[in-house]
Symmetry: C2
Subunit: 503 residues, 2 copies
């Protein structure tokens, strides 16, 4: 009996249906859309930062994959029961942590189309639309940002021009440009000098650069995180850069690469691109401008001046998946000299040879990035640009900046708090004035443990600051007002307890 | 009037609706599901390889992004009209090119959920479920592959153990392990010796390795693509490896890294892991086993022996997005010593510090990969494993192998053709016997230009081979029979024309 039963089970387990059956796809697909629409409707109700303990999921899930198939209905119940409590809800309107991961309907739909087609667009031939749409939307976005022509594809698609490419993340974008710069230099001075190459940035530059330098084989001793200070609002000082470069040259080292940031992670500081490029160019340094977060805002005329000087840089990137309504991952990278990327990153195996490539009339984006395989990311960016248009995109970004101003105003009016760094975009850096870092840390932990809102922190020059970043798509004024109430309440409790101790 | 009209337009263009409005999400989401269900239903009708000319899309799309928003209905019409003709249809049942990119309903739904939640899971805290589910499914799949315990997380989650991580692509997986191996070695022998490190592979190894070595700063002169031959069925000979290593040591170089392949791109050759590891271990070489394509088949007991010996390797990877029903991108990497990755790839900026990380009870996957930001990829792998279960997954893979056998049988019976390399998995390498490479190339080009099926090619030892790779999810026996008819028809025409010329 037992074995018969097992046999029955085994036969039941074998799907007669093709795993891509269109009717079943339709049925299950509609279920997931409803599941996610309900999720967005309810997301405000969940604790923003997950409240689970390490190892929670191992206790709930089996140790091995099931032998037989399980129905989607059961799986979705488990997503609700086991996964959602373990999510930190980046799409919650009460999410103000790190930087936003701003989803949108258009971004989601674009990702669905790209996932549905599931093409592998390593070269033009493998799916021409994937390559061509990418070049087109990168020109569209480049024009919205008023990037100089030298970063764009020429309008007839011919000749040696700059151009844009979609990478996964800024880390990858920087690693690719750094590798290009490195090989350009080593081809001049000889491979054996790799240990002499120096990479420059400020102490506020994102850790992605350090990691990229590490991977690219730059000696960790030759990574310069130049100190910034309040006097330059934590932007990199061209004079500091210059003196660091001169000291390195004096020691027989070779300046290679500078990463300037527009909108640093800790305080959205802006490195002054014009004078930094001026210094860097004197020494033949490749300049990359990392505008991962703040670049999006530069589609608004009133913010464009923050990237003035980009015409003197070699490459420029921003993350559309941060504050541009495009789901993770989507890093937009423009370079003036794509050939530098191609020289460093191309491979040309026989099994990928084809006439289109040989005609040199097409781009094979595999040679502009780390990986061979690549997703059809331009689809989502295209949908975002078309579904909202320039006017709405500007208006969405401005509404976030406006809400950040409002929050800044609330903070400024309450004497217990201090704005630590002046707000530039949609993030406010503040703390409880005249209190230790520990008290401020306690406040952040207490607020986040409540699950009502989620904020994170930074430390600059020894000062602990609370980062309040607005940009979650669903956030409205009422959420910002609620957040302010939550912060006040928790501050009162913490300061009250302190007073109790003191009395 | 004109300006009034323009003002009206501008005001119309501003969405009153939030770009993540749940009701609008529901409406548009259902539209896209129907669009894609129709696409799968009709995909057979489209030319498999896109028939467009370079630059086709630039002629159809505007030069700039729209100022005002456009309705999803219009955008979807344009997808149908402008994008679909430019796609090469990897999901078509008549797709036999490169390797498969095997989508499935479960993989698609998982990607939707992950995109919908849109969490950025760089560390545990940023979304515990994303990290924990990844560790769990990597153990599930590791057990399905009967990987040794040393590659898996210990069941209590404690202590120093191996473990798995989801990367985007094999290129990234190799770059990470190579960087780990490099830094481990340089820490012993000194940074200044980076120019002496040598990387080993066969001349059949995927170009991803060469690219990874290039990026990691390995001197291109120290990249050894060791020749293979028909006598070893294009597998890497341990004796050739040994003599290459000895020659390098003799020249003062330092052996670092070996990439052994299970299922090479050109002919699905299998490098003999046991003796290769035996040689490599003598010289302290890090061995990575790249089973990008064929690894999936090893969940079937009858194929598992191809990865025998993996217990002596340091890392192992396969692409679930190739032949495992998980949409692009999803590369599964297991390592014995995650600390080697962490040492080479970790960064610890203040703005990411948190108690969970400090407790050392959690994994922060950002330190196992190139990028900081990471998508919730385990969701799709979890859905694939649960929706189909081990039994069906084996049965799907076996059906592809069976169809490849069938195609091989058809080829073998027709005297005009030759099987160039014996079939091992679901790919058949064949050509028109006694004809030049040019004639065979002409055949491939003629078949592909017809749009009825799509095949690609490889050249090994100077011999042009037609690669016929079965694995598109929708492919059934009837498609293989059709493909055979198409190949015969085009062969007749080409050989007929030849005869005409000769007579």
């Amino acid at each position: 009996m037992g074995s018969l039963h097992a046999d029955n089970l085994e036969s039941i387990s074998v799907c007669s249906q093709n795993p891509l059956d269109p009717d079943e796809f339709r049925r299950q697909g509609h279920m997931i859309i409803d599941f996610l629409a309900d999720y967005y409707r309810d997301v405000e109700k969940y604790p923003v930062r997950s409240q689970v303990e390490p190892g929670y999921l191992r206790k709930r899930l089996p140790e091995s994959a099931p032998y037989n198939s399980e129905p989607i209905e059961t799986i979705l119940q488990d997503v609700q029961k086991d996964i959602i409590p373990g999510l930190t809800h980046w799409q919650s309107p009460n999410y103000f942590a790190y930087f936003p991961s701003s989803g949108s309907i258009a971004g989601f739909l674009g990702e669905m189309l790209s996932t549905g087609f599931n093409v592998v667009g390593f070269n033009w031939l493998s799916s021409p639309a994937a390559t061509e749409l990418e070049s087109i939307v990168m020109n569209w976005l480049g024009k919205m940002l008023k990037l100089p022509e030298s970063f764009l594809f020429s309008s007839d698609g011919s000749g040696s021009s700059g151009g844009g490419v979609l990478q996964g993340t800024t880390c990858e974008a920087i690693l690719c440009t750094l590798t290009a710069a490195r090989d350009q230099m080593l081809n001049k001075i000889g491979r054996e000098n790799i240990g002499k190459l120096v990479v420059y940035a400020s102490d506020q530059t994102h850790c992605a650069l350090q990691k990229a330098a590490q991977i690219a084989g730059i000696n960790p001793k030759n990574f310069r995180a130049i100190a910034t200070s309040k006097t330059t609002e934590f932007g990199l000082s061209p004079n500091s850069l210059l003196s660091t470069i001169l000291a390195d040259i004096e020691s027989g080292l070779i300046p290679l690469f500078l990463c300037a940031t527009v909108g640093t992670t800790s305080s959205t500081a802006v490195d002054p691109i014009v004078p930094l490029c001026e210094v860097a160019k004197r020494y033949g340094i490749w300049v990359h401008v990392d505008a991962a977060y703040a670049g999006s805002a530069c589609i608004c005329p009133e913010f464009r001046h923050f990237i003035d000087g980009v015409e003197d840089a070699d490459s420029f990137s921003l993350n559309a998946h941060k504050w541009f309504f495009t789901t993770l991952d989507c890093c937009c990278l423009w370079v003036k000299d794509p050939n530098a990327l191609v020289k460093a990153l191309s491979t040309n195996p026989e099994y990928l040879k084809n006439k289109a490539t040989e005609s040199k009339q097409v781009i094979d984006y595999k040679d502009w990035q780390i990986a061979l395989s690549r997703r059809f990311r331009s689809m989502k960016l295209w949908l975002v640009l078309r579904s909202y248009g320039v006017a709405n995109l500007r208006s969405f970004l401005r509404s976030h900046v406006k809400m950040a101003k409002q929050f800044e105003g609330l903070i400024a009016k309450d004497k217990r708090f201090e704005i630590v760094v002046p707000r530039t975009f949609a993030m406010v850096d503040y703390n409880v004035e005249d209190q230790t870092n520990e008290i401020n840390q306690k406040l952040v932990e207490s607020v986040n443990a409540s699950g009502r809102i989620y904020m994170t922190h930074a430390v600059i020059g020894g000062i602990y600051m609370i980062r309040f970043a607005i940009g979650a798509t669903l956030t409205e004024e009422r959420h910002v007002n609620l957040a302010w109430k939550v912060v006040q309440e928790h501050t009162e409790v913490i300061l009250g307890a302190l007073d109790g101790k003191l009395n």
